[in-house]
Symmetry: C2
Subunit: 130 residues, 2 copies
Amino acid sequence: MTTRADYVTRPREAIATVLRREPRFLSAAQIYARLKRSGAGVSLSTVYRTLDRLRAKGEVTERADADGEATFMLCEPAHHHHHAICGECGRVEDVDCTAVEQFAESLRAAHGFELDGHALEFFGRCGACR
Amino acid sequence: MTTRADYVTRPREAIATVLRREPRFLSAAQIYARLKRSGAGVSLSTVYRTLDRLRAKGEVTERADADGEATFMLCEPAHHHHHAICGECGRVEDVDCTAVEQFAESLRAAHGFELDGHALEFFGRCGACR
DNA sequence: ATATTTGCAAATAATTTGCACGTAA
DNA sequence: TTACGTGCAAATTATTTGCAAATAT
């Protein structure tokens, strides 16, 4: 066979729980800290390997934070959208934006630029933090 | 006095020359490689320290590439704009976009989101590479 | 039974720092 | 002369990997 298997393990469930509980971008170290606090015996390397796998499966989105540290959030990029990230609480809201898609297309005319994709992030304070 | 001085040195000029010659995002290692090739005796730490200073002065823009590695380009964010990055040659075109600013503002109504800023990047192939 | 996952400790890779010496002003 | 910059080597930090033991199927 050429297919990969996929076991359901305690460490993986623990990691998924952390990600589900906090819908915002977390670094491997932050996830590891939460696991340790809650008594789950999961190593940092397992955190890395699991995040890698989740990213490959498209279940998690990766993003480099301001310091270049990799952060992850449970979020399928299945239907394309963008993020509004609260600088105060870190909360992330999805922004579905046809407008940007259209704007992106105009690039082709203005710059002769053949588009593959684009990334858009908004920074500020969410409704709850204002 | 509380002000900082700023000396014009051979290493700094060499680094500036590299950045001027290549208007695209380069990593510290790439810049260092070019300096070595051209015989300029400049250390990697100086490359890092100089890029840091240039960023602080707002003369250089920093960006984490796909692997999270820090890359730098001569580009003043004075008047806000965005980048169209060619995946083939790495060329970067500035995209001045009032449209996005307006769209960003609509976020406030739609999500109750108080905006600090935003970042937008386009990926694809530039006119020359098509 | 056996393919897959795990923890640990050691290996990498990027970036930063301490410090004695060099250089612009 | 003196504040500022540099190179070097060592320190830090994030991330990856090898491998023997543990676990899911």
